[in-house]
Symmetry: C2
Subunit: 613 residues, 2 copies
């Protein structure tokens, strides 16, 4: 066994240090101990005259939130629309009105972790105070269905405040869809006498929250259901009412630290192109933010590729051209950012995937019976459209195999498992070798060719592409929250708690104006949900907020990228700071798109020690 | 083209922010601007009475550094031994003696980047002052041979101080071996009238420095050659005289941040085992430090595996047992650390690699002529020892292919490319499926079996191992240095400059006693170099400093690991801090092995603004 315990130590002094090292276990590293003590700002709407935290009151505003197809939504959510309509609410200080007491509010995490989840709990705990009860639901919506629920004591809040992860409650990805599930949710609510249910999640979970709110209202169960916008991808957002979801800032700061280090390392070792795939299945907001922070040689933005209908070959063209032009300037290294969901935005790839899914479904049995990948491939190819078949045949063998064999629970191609960055590397390598062999086809004064001197072309033939590929994702989800995310989530908790205590239902807690004190809003969930036809079936979804090509943030990238492609002018924003002059930055894309004067500091109110009393 | 420039922006205010974002390019992020201003501590030996920086004087001590086979070393390095012997020098304040002027000292980086390289330059610049000249050699030892050299102005120092990477000079991995190369080095030294040459590098580069020192002395060229201990692996060290090399602290802090986040994420998402391969070809010091910082479920230490002669199967046994015992406690997730160089320490794997290299060399042509991997494999297997052939046949097909096809420049197997973590995952998966099918063979009260109740065994059959694999390396080499590495490297620069100005040659600058003001030493390079027979040829090397199984740092891990394996008691030391209460930590392994009272702060003297005048 490896684990033979060594029982003696050299001397007493080291023994003390042994104990100290051991005592850092269980989230007691020096940083964790110090970060727990950090104060967070609190908006004045949550402060009584004595400076203590108390629930805010939410008033109607003249701002409305309406999605396309609202008529259909009004049919599906009659109860919710009847009470709240599409009006956005805004928090104001409650004055010295009487405190609400005896209420029971439960909270759950849904989906992948994002930094700040525990501070939502801290905010809820602070605003509920001693006279109300906060409960936690274990392991996500699944726990809500099972009724797996417990009372959160205030000591626990002390231990998790400003800490990362979702582990205090756990999480899952259960979708509450069936009548039986809804009935069980009701039982959990009734059995535990819940007055409020707070759902921390992304677009799916908040859509779910809207349905639960409607269902409970229809059933006459007086429990308010409040959503909290979480996702590191930043795609659960609502423009000026909610510039970003929580977790995005922390995740992008971590990815920017690492990509910044890689840009620096590439320029130091002067031999590698680093291909970095960044989390973000649908929106490329993470990639855009990291690009603005670090100035890589290339950052691909899925939304632009879809908008311009760029085939895979054009993307390869684009990258290879930049590699060549950098080479002419003596630069043989760089960093290339690739959003995780890219393949789905490349028109012919997304057609191929749809085509494959169709054929795989139609001939499921026949294909299963075939003995080898090669047989399956030969069976499949003639049944795809000729365009898809041609593309399929041109892909690296390992990727073809993956597309044929790896299926998700619904029998579909596992898009998230496609190693896009490796596909690109292989295509680029092949193109480079073609270019070296047929220089006249690729170099010249004609449009589409690369203008180069004979010497440059000779030199280009010596290019040997050394690559490293990376995937940045999991390491950014469960970090301790940045100061921004810590403040944002604490106040989302205060807002959600205030809404629940006052019996509002079907809202999402939101914050905007991060640069001037914060404005606390409640967005009607029914104003975010739209009806869509998917595969002939009506589905209700909250539309993901994508990178807009005419947004200031994208323009800031587009205006600079040629320069960043041609010169090594990276910068490296460094590790997340909890203290010091750079600890209060907001995401660049938020500052740009919301027209803030700067990105260097947020203002969300006066700082308070997080756990009151 | 992707790069269509969008020319209009919404309004002036955003335009200002556009410009601000653009101006962060070229290492002008807010953090970079602030970190440049950070003061670094300076030992009193480098301070004049007026508080300005001046060269220290190095005195002989009664401490000696002798390696095994010193007689042979004395033959090879007669000049160096004659002048310095094996005595360690120690710096003392120079008093108010006259300043040395008119000296010319050049510096180069060698090998992979490590955080703090630029502060070595800042230290050299500060100690040389205005009256001497600092020169930089471009792109490593290769640049020294080519004579690619330039004068470093003081403005440049302002821009690189406290910044990461090796990009100001560049680096390479040229070994200076041939008579012609040595002759060219002499020409560079003579042509540029160099009085000193500072080599920033690892074991190979410092060995090289010892030979250059000897060569120049023999040739009567009065140029002092000084080495600086760099390597993120931490294996260029000399116990109490030099507890660690620079770059280790920063790299391990970054890896610990990420591994800490993954432990937290694993416990939040409750479905993944993350296999994390960590840089470190020979020594597992990085893995040990990260394990002490983060408390993962498992950390494999190569030195222990070699010492205990553990075959691959036992390692798989060990991991699977822990996965099973965690499962019994309801834990289906965790983080497993794997040092990069592990395969070379697994006895039968290292025999297989040696065996393969032998056969591949002997039958190079025959193998090259064979048409397919399968043919090559069939040709190779009977020519390996039966043990190696059996092991080879049991490896995953992709790994077999890699072992057969991927060769380095010397025709050897590319050990660093072996995806050890994926090999382990595949072996573990296979073992788990065996255990589910043949529970009686693996569970029971007998020695070597896992003691489990029938319910636990039934439950174990449901285990579905979900894994994610990661490789942490490049992102840790070129970060801005931690406060510790910034201070360490600045003073290494001060020490190397002082040595060069006083004409000492064949020494490595070293610092110890990080916890009490710092003690500045010069270690004779000949005391570090040993002669080894490798493949029948005598090679001179600086022995790598490995994890000692009886060191306090290893014991601290061994004493805790059973607990850390069975419970989720990770901690996550967080991102490198440049300000605040946790910004001054030293590596835990240094504090433990050097018997410091704590790891929470270093003391290397009074803080100074880095660039003087």
């Amino acid at each position: 066994m490896l684990s033979r315990i060594l029982s003696s130590t050299n001397e007493g002094k080291t023994m003390d240090l042994f104990s100290k090292v051991s005592r850092t276990a269980g989230k007691h590293s020096p940083l964790e101990e110090e970060v727990r003590k950090l104060p967070v700002p609190v908006s004045s709407v949550f402060l009584g005259k004595d400076g203590t935290i108390r629930p805010a009151v939410f008033r109607q505003t003249d701002m409305t939130l309406l999605c396309k197809g609202h008529d259909r939504i009004a049919q599906v959510f009659p109860k919710t629309i009847e009470t709240g309509g599409s009006l956005i609410l805004e928090a104001v200080a409650s004055g010295e009105s009487e405190r609400v007491t005896g209420k029971r509010v439960a909270v759950l995490f849904s989906g992948g972790p994002a930094a700040g989840g525990h501070n939502v709990l801290a905010g809820l705990s602070a605003v509920l105070g001693k006279d109300n009860t906060l409960l936690g639901i274990r392991k996500g919506p699944g726990g809500l269905v099972r009724g797996d629920i417990f009372e959160i004591d205030r000591e626990s809040i002390h231990s998790i405040v400003n800490m990362g992860g979702f582990d205090f409650l756990g999480t899952d990805r259960t979708k509450i869809k069936t009548a039986e599930q809804f009935e069980k949710v009701k039982q959990t609510v009734v059995n535990n006498r819940l007055d409020g249910l707070v759902v921390v999640g992304g677009d799916d979970s908040n859509t779910n929250a809207a349905f639960i709110a409607e269902y409970l209202a229809t059933e006459g169960v007086g429990c308010s259901v409040i959503g909290i916008p979480k996702t590191i991808d930043g795609d659960m957002a609502a423009g000026k009412y909610l510039p970003i979801s929580f977790g995005f800032d922390t995740a992008t700061k971590i990815y920017s630290e690492l990509v910044g280090n890689l840009t620096q390392d590439a320029a130091s070792a002067v031999k590698y192109y680093h291909f970095v795939k960044l989390m973000g299945r649908t929106a490329s907001k993470i990639t855009l933010e990291v690009a603005l922070q670090t100035k890589p040689a290339i950052a691909l933005i899925s939304e632009e590729i879809a908008e311009k209908n760029m085939p895979l070959d054009s993307i390869v063209d684009h990258i290879v051209r930049i590699i060549a032009l950098r080479r002419f300037r003596g630069i043989n290294h760089g960093v290339i950012l690739v959003p995780e969901g890219l393949v789905e935005f490349i028109p012919e790839m997304s057609r191929l995937i749809a085509d494959l899914n169709k054929v795989l479904a139609e001939y499921e049995r026949d294909i299963a019976d075939l003995p080898s990948v090669e047989h399956k491939r030969e069976f499949l190819l003639p049944r795809l459209t000729s365009q898809s078949a041609q593309l399929m045949a041109s892909l690296p063998p390992a990727l073809q195999e993956m597309l044929i064999l790896d299926r998700d629970d619904h029998g579909n191609v596992k898009v998230s498992q496609i190693e896009t960055e490796k596909l690109l590397i292989e295509k680029i390598r092949y193109r480079l070798s073609e270019m070296k062999r047929h220089t006249d086809r690729f170099f010249g004064k004609e449009d589409g060719k690369i203008d180069a001197t004979p010497e440059q072309i000779e030199d280009f033939k010596k290019v040997a592409l050394s690559t490293q590929s990376h995937f940045l994702g999991y390491e950014g989800r469960s970090s301790k929250p940045s100061r921004f995310d810590a403040a944002f989530t604490f106040q989302l908790g205060l807002a959600a708690g205030s809404l629940a205590l006052s019996g509002k239902t079907g809202y999402m807690a939101a914050i905007t104006d991060f640069h001037k004190g914060g404005r606390i809003l409640a967005l009607p969930l029914t104003g975010l949900v739209t009806a869509e036809m998917r595969k002939g079936k009506e589905e209700f979804v909250i539309e993901k907020s994508l990178v807009e090509l005419f947004s200031p943030s994208f323009k800031a990238y587009a205006l600079n990228r040629d320069k960043w492609a041609m010169e090594d002018c990276f910068s490296s924003p460094g590790a997340i700071q909890y203290w010091g002059p750079t600890s209060r930055q907001v995401p660049m894309i938020v500052a740009l798109d919301q027209d803030y004067p700067d990105f260097d500091t947020f203002d969300l109110g006066e700082e308070k020690q997080v756990v009151i009393e």
